[in-house]
Subunit: 107 residues, 2 copies
Amino acid sequence: MIQEGEVFKALADETRLRVLNLFLLSEQPLCVCEIVDALKVPQYNISKHLTLLKHAGLVDVEKEGLWGYYRLKKDEPKNRAILAFLKDYLTGETFETDRRNLEVRLL
Amino acid sequence: MIQEGEVFKALADETRLRVLNLFLLSEQPLCVCEIVDALKVPQYNISKHLTLLKHAGLVDVEKEGLWGYYRLKKDEPKNRAILAFLKDYLTGETFETDRRNLEVRLL
DNA sequence: ATCTTATATGCCAAGAAGGGCATATAAGCA
DNA sequence: TGCTTATATGCCCTTCTTGGCATATAAGAT
């Protein structure tokens, strides 16, 4: 499990970067199932990565009934710079496809 | 081995962050032995991490006789933002001690 | 109460990463 | 030629990480 302050370990995984990419696009809370649909990755896998991102302090959750709404902690001082960097860094086919898939899902 | 573009994996290790911390301080090429002295970590260990950082595109080497002078590729567009971020991120006892050790070594 | 849906989690196996150690390489020097 | 010094690398072992799968949890609906 990732310790406090070890942001880079949280970012050192492609699936997690894909998840963060979605958050950076939407700038709104996303539930697990939306992420699952967009990335086409098994639910248990996304759940695990979200838990890890939460422990790393990059996202948090709000539970509403059955749903868990995750959102980027973009106002956290510790996260501001790295998220700004990420926004430019996450380029390429996969990230773009994921973003398109999310847009369709959110319609 | 780290693939092209996977910067975060290169940063997801404390020893490598400690090495980068030295480069950010000195802004001058450093040879392996200087880093070994400052961090008090075995030479073979530092060598391996430097090779990895090189593959990640964060540093490069210039060989001069027996010595290998490594330097940060800080002018590389891809690296600018992340290095700026790192400069603020690398705080704490260990990093400060390492910096002091390097200063002594470079006298 | 039961069934369904959304999410989390425990266990396992495979692979990657890191450290230790010995040794290889290779340049300079006696 | 041999000796020393600086650096790189291969092997082994241990630990960490990830994904797959099954299952647990828990809320809503019937």
